[in-house]
Amino acid sequence: MYQIVSEPIDVAAVTAAVARPSAGATVTFVGTTRDHNDGRRVSRLEYEAYPEMALAEMRKVGEAAQHRWPIEQVAIVHRIGAVPLGHASVVIAVSAGHRHAAFEACHFVINRLKEVVPIWKKEYFEGGETWVGSQTGKAFAVADEKPQP
């Protein structure tokens, strides 16, 4: 299951999507919108995606995890548009025969997702607004399979 949605994410449905009789462990990560960042009180958050590419990159991240760990299934659902504070903006579920692989793969998926999936977050706070990441001056990873010459 790989989805970009503009409605609330059903966490139980994402977890259920990776259920397999052979899985002895399921790890679900829920990323929620936080009411503060960099010492500022955040009043509102909005996410914007390059949807066609974001979906393709989400799938690639899931497949990379499946290639690297002995896991069963991966599901990634990201919400876009306005997300109320305290609500889930991203949910990742990984099922595996054993918990160790499920935990490691889930950790990899959320980190990689934040590096390569073209989805941006805009924070509104008292006195202003900012695109998170837009002032860091940091580039991010080009696909691993394209090494520098």
Partner: protein
């Protein structure tokens, strides 16, 4: 040739535009495109080090040669801002 540009997030707001058709000489690279964009929108020049590019929804390096009708996305840093190894930096 004409390429189809897409802008997102901070870049979309800065240019007040999300899509644009852009004329380039045949054989132009992503870097050439960036140069012509900066000539038209000088406020972009300072952003080069934080920018990544995708052509037809795949990340590419700046020396990638463009083709007519390519969809080129200019991608500011994604949310999260995780450090990456230098070898992956855009330039």
């Amino acid at each position: 040739m004409t390429v189809h540009l897409r802008f997102f997030a901070s870049l979309r707001e800065r240019l007040r535009c999300s899509e644009l058709d852009w004329e380039l000489p045949d054989g132009a690279t992503v870097d050439d495109l960036w140069g012509t964009l900066c000539a038209r929108y000088p406020q972009l020049a300072a952003l080069r080090s934080s920018m990544t590019f995708a052509v037809n929804r795949e990340y590419v390096r700046a020396d990638h040669t463009l083709s007519s009708d390519d969809e080129v996305a200019l991608i500011p840093p994604v949310s999260g801002g995780i450090d990456v190894p230098d070898r992956f930096r855009a330039d």
